[in-house]
Symmetry: C2
Subunit: 426 residues, 2 copies
């Protein structure tokens, strides 16, 4: 069923969230795909496409592929380990020693192949990832990603202070590596692009932050970092930058809150002024509910952020989050918002449709026309085999079951931009 | 590797929690099993058992099988569905219509086979389950359980008020069915035993509660029910029993808090007096963190309960909880206690060892000498294949990874009371 540029249609129970309000469900519907994009979705083939080749997926579900805008590709080998600690000691004892291993190209290559295969398995077919500080390993991840058929923004991590020696670069080295990646990754085409990636305020000097901001501006690149995850981390960032009004302002003052082009992960403990600043810059907030629970960081007030008009998406934050599977993070986000609701009865919890939108359409919007089956959207899709079972569940109930209880075994086909993606590196 | 009464030993990385304080890890250790029970655990075979047949499990992990003391066997087909509602509407719209289907013996038989196979898959080999009000279907579940090789307490649900018509019995009918089950299940032997199961105060009349209490006393049977899950449910129970000092006292006054023989699920919003009462009666509190999040019930203050000396175990509460897999509930309980900790910094979160103990040794104690590899304990075990990976993880780190990220695919063998249990009903 690997597709080409030939127009074709897929027939299945189609479910997606063009808006956060509700799932649109078209039972036994037709998605017509042309040149990698959705041309139409409806209960019948359109008049002028009656002769298109139809792939009948039978009683299966067709849903948008997941998009994860905050994941640490090198950390997958430690998923689930060391979560008895909070952020800063966890970084020191587990994360940094593992990331140091990526100085070894053979280690990096194997680990990144496994990462990409695992992303493919769970149906996350586009993402924005932190790599490590290593230029060669980051370029290897980018090339492997291109080879896999997945699409991504991938960033060399910038750290020139408060990091262990093996991961420490000078501002000059870090910048030079980032420029090298920008130049050498051009040949990979638009499918895999660099993203400016200061790790977080405590590990990047003012000099480097400022020059990364200039570089982002010069090449019109997106930016990703961490913001306001953990109380000790926030206090540290504030101590390091007494001149700034807030943690978020440090990024702003260094040119790292590029309007509409910035992802900030966590945003658990934002001040009102920070929320206003992120809103003004149209920053995308990556809500990492599982990670925030795993590392005892707190609860992001996602309903309040949404009501203030902040752009929120759901992300895995592997390996702060222990699971790559975005359906688990959809559930974790809904559950966390319900727990918040028991403490703040005035804040309604996330609906499943809202959370699904935040794992498909909302993060897809950061990357382009991605994340739903609206006409003009790139056809990124998963075919899901969840039987109606003894109760004759509706397609929507079957999607609820897949999101809550399903795993990669239920995903039978994966498409990116109209092309079926086979298992990579197997 | 199916075992018999012949003494034998298993060699593997052995991990268990004889106490909540820490995992005991014996790398490449030997568990000697005789007549279904653990005779010894150590780094070598004991002097007097040097000639025993050794099954070398290589680099795999050997851990106690999971024990789930609160699960609704009939509800598995709806796992993950309808969780946008809170307890009372969810019961009305989803649970009760499904449970009514178990009036049909063919439906019940097939659904219960699937339930037992699913329990086997995830490694929960002993449990205490609610069935439905249907006497025949409950007996069928008991017989199928015996056939499967799993061991359980199984209760016919008592409801004689405030239930939809198809599930409503008179007190007399309910009692007669319960007695019939007690009598007819004798032939199944000690492996599958009945448990007195009033659904919860709102759906059982005083008359029926009192007679169930008498029946439990007469046959020395354990009791299971729900307590203090949801604020509306609590208010309803209080309105129905203005004469009682609390929700918990209603059970006590009807003879349903049998000392050391009672499981009460949820216990989210207990008063201090209720905590004292449960402590005095040595009640086992089934903590259902995932369910409490799914149904917006609140957070059970598990650390405070443990510090008061209350006996707490972790349970799935399928289908209030959406997953059968106890490793997921171990993680959910730790995560929830971490979220609680961010709101109450004075309460340390559960450690992984404590939570694992609460899913193996603590619930096993309700059933007998079950849940760890201490000498004299029945040998209930899972063999887990989690490779050391590129980082050369220790056995304990590999257990952390299994608990957080593993599923049934990692479990290669399952033992109950010394005998390997093959996949049932496949």
């Amino acid at each position: 069923m690997r597709s080409t540029v030939t127009p074709r249609a897929y027939r299945a129970h189609v479910l997606h969230t063009p808006t956060p309000e509700a799932f649109e469900v078209v039972e036994h519907g037709y998605v017509v795909v042309e040149e990698g994009r959705v041309r139409s979705l409806g209960p019948e083939l359109p008049e002028d496409r009656r002769d298109v080749e139809v792939h009948d997926l039978g009683d299966r579900l067709l849903i948008p592929a997941f998009v994860d805008l905050h994941v640490h590709a090198p950390q997958l080998p430690m998923a689930g380990v060391g979560l008895g600690e909070e952020l800063l000691p966890w970084l020191e004892h587990h994360t940094f020693p593992l990331e140091a291993r990526y100085a070894d190209p053979a280690f990096a290559r194997l680990a990144y192949q496994r990462f990409l295969t695992a992303m493919w398995e769970v149906g996350t077919l586009r993402f924005s990832a932190f790599a490590t500080v290593h230029t060669e390993a980051t370029l290897a991840l980018m090339a492997l990603c291109r080879e896999s058929g997945l699409r991504a923004l991938i960033g060399k991590v910038a750290m020139d202070r408060h990091a262990p020696e093996p991961l420490l670069e000078s501002a000059e080295e870090s910048l030079r590596g980032t420029i090298e990646i920008i130049e050498r990754s051009c040949e990979l085409g638009p499918e895999v692009r660099p993203i400016i990636t200061p790790r977080f305020v405590p590990s990047v000097s003012s000099t480097l932050m400022r020059r990364l901001g200039e570089l982002a501006e010069e090449h019109d690149l997106p930016v990703q970092s961490h913001l306001s995850e953990n109380l000790e981390e926030i206090a540290w960032a504030r101590r390091l930058h007494p001149e700034a009004g807030s943690y978020a302002e440090v990024y702003a003052e260094h040119g790292l809150l590029r309007p509409g082009r910035t992802i900030m992960a966590h945003c658990v403990h934002l001040t009102t002024a920070e929320q206003d600043l992120l809103h003004e810059r149209d920053v995308t907030l990556a809500h990492c509910a599982q990670s925030n629970a795993d590392l005892t960081s707190g609860i992001m007030p996602v309903r309040r952020h949404l009501e203030r008009g902040l752009r929120c998406v759901i992300a895995s934050d592997v390996a702060g989050g222990h699971s790559l599977a975005m359906n688990r993070h959809v559930v974790a986000s809904v559950e966390t918002s319900k727990t918040w609701r028991t403490l703040h009865p005035e804040d309604p919890p996330l609906t499943l449709a809202e959370a699904f939108h935040m794992a498909t359409r909302a993060p897809g919007a950061f990357l382009g026309d991605v994340g739903s089956f609206e006409p003009g959207h790139e056809f990124d899709a998963l075919v899901v085999d969840m039987p109606a079972g003894p109760l004759g569940h509706s397609p929507l109930e079957r999607l609820e079951q897949f999101v809550h209880t399903g795993d990669d075994r239920a995903i039978t086909h994966r498409f990116v931009a109209g092309a079926e993606v086979p298992r990579p590196f197997s």
